[in-house]
């Protein structure tokens, strides 16, 4: 069940990050849009985690090192461009991944078939905004470029095969690169040239190695639940 945990944690953690935008979005219409995406992801997370065990025990009682999400989704929101870059990278990955899962015979086929529709919309949202920020004003272009570059080194991990996810990882990788490159170019942005991995070989999110901000994130997320052991909510 490594696979359900990995995919479930991705959705859970990204949903949490997007939830942090509530009350802070650049315009009211975007409050609604970001919340929709967060809610879709949270719904996916609940289904996936429930395949493994009790959703709340898994979300609230695991230690940081037991989470299996990729590091990309735990990265702090930064400015709106940073969030959109994270959305672009992740939603493109998730759509390609779920498309493959939906047509295969994996235990995730049913879930993936539903989720792929949601995720296609997330990708569309990220692409529309990447175009507008990249090809908007000089300031937005610079911010978008910064976001795209800053998160690039977290993208390599997306294509590390996950045990139990029987898909063609190589085509996922090439499809992702093609799609992201096309959008960035159309948005007059430069596709980052740096490595898609950090330099540390200890592993990454899928092995339970996370970045520093993640610890604080789950401390906040888990604190109330943990303060009342055994209570129902």
């Amino acid at each position: 069940m490594t696979a359900a945990l990995a995919l479930g944690d991705d959705a859970l953690v990204l949903s949490h990050r997007l939830g942090e935008w509530a009350g802070h979005a650049p315009v009211l219409e975007e409050e609604v849009a970001l919340a929709n995406i967060a809610l879709d992801l949270l719904g996916q997370a609940r289904v996936l985690l429930s395949l493994v065990g009790d959703e709340d025990e898994l979300a609230y009682l695991r230690e940081e090192r037991a989470f299996r999400n990729v590091q990309l989704v735990e990265q702090p929101n930064g400015d709106f461009a940073h969030t959109i870059a994270r959305q672009l990278y992740f939603s493109t990955y998730q759509r390609l991944l779920y498309e493959q899962l939906a047509t295969g015979e994996s235990p995730f086929a049913g879930l993936a078939a539903k989720a792929v529709k949601e995720v296609a919309y997330h990708q569309d949202h990220a692409e529309r905004w990447t175009l507008r920020l990249g090809d908007g004003t000089a300031e937005s272009h610079e911010r978008m470029q910064r976001g795209v570059v800053a998160l690039w080194r977290f993208t390599g991990e997306l294509f590390q095969p996950v045990e139990g996810v029987e898909i063609d990882w190589r085509s996922l990788n090439s499809g992702w690169l093609e799609s992201v490159t096309a959008v960035l170019q159309q948005a007059t942005l430069t596709v980052p040239a740096g490595p898609q991995f950090g330099a540390w070989t200890a592993g990454a999110g899928r092995q339970g190695i996370h970045t520093e901000p993640f610890g604080r994130m789950i401390a906040e997320m888990q604190h109330l639940h943990r303060s009342h052991p055994g209570a129902s909510w």
Binding site: H16, H24, P26, V27, L28, E29, A35, D56, L133, H225
Partner: protein, 334 residues
Amino acid sequence: MTAVTADQTAQAGAGRPEGADEALEAAFDRAVAADERIEPRDWMPDAYRASLVRQMAQHAHSEIIGMQPEANWISRAPSLRRKAILMAKVQDEAGHGLYLYSAAETLGTGREELLDKLHAGRQRYSSIFNYPTLTWADVGAIGWLVDGAAITNQVPLCRCSYGPYARAMVRICKEESFHQRQGYELLLTLSRGTPAQHEMAQDAVNRWWWPSLMMFGPPDDASAHSAQSMAWKIKRHSNDELRQRFVDICVPQAEALGLTLPDPDLRWNEERGQHDFGAIDWQEFQEVLKGNGPCNEQRLTQRRRAHEEGSWVRDAAVAYAEKHTAVRNGEATA
């Protein structure tokens, strides 16, 4: 909620012969008396227009400022189910703000202008949101009491004389009932939970009860705009009437929760067929209204910052649209 051509109404009024205004006013009064709706392009008295813009703006501002105290708990919601509910609720509030700004825009006042007034402290929002959410139970108390008071206030607005406002309120009231129920259910779970949870629920109710009663506004004899708004059917019931109705609704609900309302003078009055309740601290109300509540500064600061930090995003979208308008035209309908 169409915002079309409200400006033309003003132009149309400008060139009329003398005496025409009296006839228009008489027609307006007749329409209101006959419970017809006033629509954006109809003639209306300036004071009616001003009163509506003020009320709709204040209502819209309340929705978006009201997101903050609850959003404060999204990241700490203690179960995934509760987290989904809370996110959906805060999202609804953004949506309600949108509906209401749109309704206000039918009278020719843009959202940007209204937001500027909010940010400059020249327009108000409901004072209730200047109180802090200190524990998770506050999320439940807001749903039950604050949304409950809001619904009591808002249901009559679905029949408000101004069409776009009434239609926005129909949509909002439909969505609000989920808000109140989730809050009640949240408190019920806490009340029946561990002793610590029960205590948390009681503490939240203790803190939110009186401010909720203040949400209905000053007593009728001290309310500045009430009488005229009632005559125009913008308002349908007086502040005190609605407050009484709310108290009567809450008492049995509190009993079912197993929680007490923090008012030693609260008791059933057989003669009146209503509950008597203790004196409200109007001094506190006035102080919070003036800006001296626990969170006034914090709420406005966050709102201003979100708006300022978002300005480059909004500008970018406009710049992009200008570059690409020709290409996009014609793609919109299907």
